[in-house]
Subunit: 329 residues, 2 copies
């Protein structure tokens, strides 16, 4: 029913409006984000999403990635556009900024534009949380974190929803950065530590932009679960390839991981083969594969999927308030 | 210099703002649009743009295309997101709607979001105008238009900037639609006509979503220039492939045209070869190839390039007024 006497065709106005969400992350909690990320990974495991590989374009001092997808069970299509400029911090800008555009899959109409900068942190954190839920051994864990940036923080927050964290050990090239992050997680007994001791935790997450291995094979004990998050472009890697050979290796998406995940450099050098991938995280969630014993090392190689961006953007739209923008045609 | 006493850090506000342009086409004239499209095609001819092939994702009853590019000489990067839903008119929606997101290539920051629905019409029209400027024979022409939608109108407008139009003949499956378009161009002696007579004009533009040839070889006289606009996805074609064999065939981008342009079906059926393409419109503009005599048939196979979208969006930003959106991070 329409409000009388406004002289305003509300149906038409609805068609011609697009929403903008400047801070869509504010209403979100990892409990809910982890759940939608798990659901969309499972749908990926069932082969019921449409997601071409992300496309890279080189810019000055960085690049940007275009990530389109359609997720039928969420009734949502869209594209995330995200940059990577390693030197941005010097300019007072984040290394990574992102925008997501959502489309109605029935008619292609642009429904919303979201500032996806913090959503990108959260959906990547949630992927790590979900990998822990399904692959980490034990209910209570020590958590090692390599790197101290926004993604290091997101991993701790998302994993804390999935496991009891006994202690957090953080390593960063700059000790002060590790200590700053630790100070935010005092209630989980977080502190700065040596790289070797960080790698000795039950669960290890690596979040650096490294292009050569920084985690040594001899530091990784049997039974460890590793979230390898940092490598998301060709040439990047954080783990000694010898660790891959001792481990069950799971990826978010096989094509993307081979191209740009933790395994991309070892594969290009003949040190690891695509056929050695145990499965996708979606297949793990569906029960097709996974950890079989406490002593196994498991690795989750995360590259970041467009379907995660669609899923978190849709969740955010339900929780956050947006700005109405005219979209005449 | 900052205004005193506002308590507002204007530098920071600038960094944290993104513009939205709901009607960026309103201030634009084809004279200017044709010029920037010509410039960016020339830059493409010089090999100085970065543009991966557009990516298609199938939706319900349609698809959407993601088109990223970086154009260094414009100091602008971005992505156009555009749908194609042939049955949208029944729902009161345009077949094609589009959004462009622009990024600063130095730091990846999202600078602007534009409603690119009408910009898409204009930049495609301008491509046809520029092809006419460089390939059509004679200063005064008769113009044949196959199709009567938004793109048919855009082609007439853009070509009218480049040539004296003596008459316009328009054919559409629905005569009433052809007559409606003709009524908008009475001052150019526009009228509805048979398909054969439309194809007998000096310059012919085809703008339908046809998937089988509708323009017969015997209807095309020597010396004709054809803008083949409609075919922009695999399986689409409007021209009898025999016309290609009589003509010099120019494309906007070789990779895209082979995949989804007018030549895509003839190539897939072995009726035309990639090597038979004479050159790109950029190479024509630079003088490397083109029409050599009055009697030659020339074809411009337009698929629509992301660099056109970046160029027109940048021009529109300079002319149109936008809405300031917060973009906190």
């Amino acid at each position: 029913m329409r409000t009388a006497c406004t002289g305003f065709n509300t149906d038409r106005a609805k068609i011609n409006a697009m929403k903008y969400y400047p801070e869509p992350h504010l209403g979100l909690e990892y409990r809910d984000v982890n759940a939608v990320i798990e659901d969309v990974f499972a749908e990926h495991g069932r082969g019921r999403v449409r997601m071409p590989p992300k496309v890279y374009v080189l810019l000055e001092g960085g690049d940007f990635r275009t990530m389109p997808a359609y997720v039928p069970f969420l009734h949502m299509a869209g594209v995330k556009i995200v940059n990577m400029h390693p030197d941005n911090r010097k300019r007072g800008l984040p290394t990574v900024m992102a925008v997501t555009v959502l489309l109605d899959p029935e008619n292609g109409r642009p429904q919303a534009v979201l500032n996806a900068t913090s959503l990108t942190d959260m959906r990547t954190g949630a992927a790590g949380g979900i990998a822990c839920r399904h692959l980490a051994s034990g209910k209570e864990i020590s958590l090692g974190v390599v790197g101290s940036g926004r993604q290091a923080n997101a991993q701790i927050a998302a994993i804390a929803e999935e496991r009891e964290i006994r202690e957090v050990r953080i390593w960063s090239r700059e000790v002060a950065n590790a200590e700053r992050l630790a100070s935010m997680w005092r209630h989980l007994d977080a502190r700065s530590d040596t790289l070797e001791r960080v790698c000795g935790c039950d669960v290890l997450v690596t979040t650096t932009p490294s292009t050569s291995p920084i985690v040594k094979n001899e530091w990784i004990a049997d039974g460890t679960h590793i979230n390898a998050i940092g490598a998301d472009a060709p040439g990047k890697q954080e783990l000694d390839p010898a660790i891959l050979k001792r481990a069950l290796v799971f990826v978010d998406d096989i094509e993307q991981a081979v191209h740009s995940g933790e395994i991309n450099v070892p594969i290009s050098r003949g040190l690891f083969r695509k056929e050695e991938i145990t499965g996708t995280i979606g297949q793990v969630i569906l029960g097709f594969c996974g950890r079989r014993s406490k002593g196994e090392i498991t690795i989750f190689d995360s590259t970041g999927l467009a379907i995660q961006d669609i899923a978190i953007a849709r969740l955010a739209m339900q929780k956050a308030s947006g700005i109405d923008l005219p979209f005449p045609f």
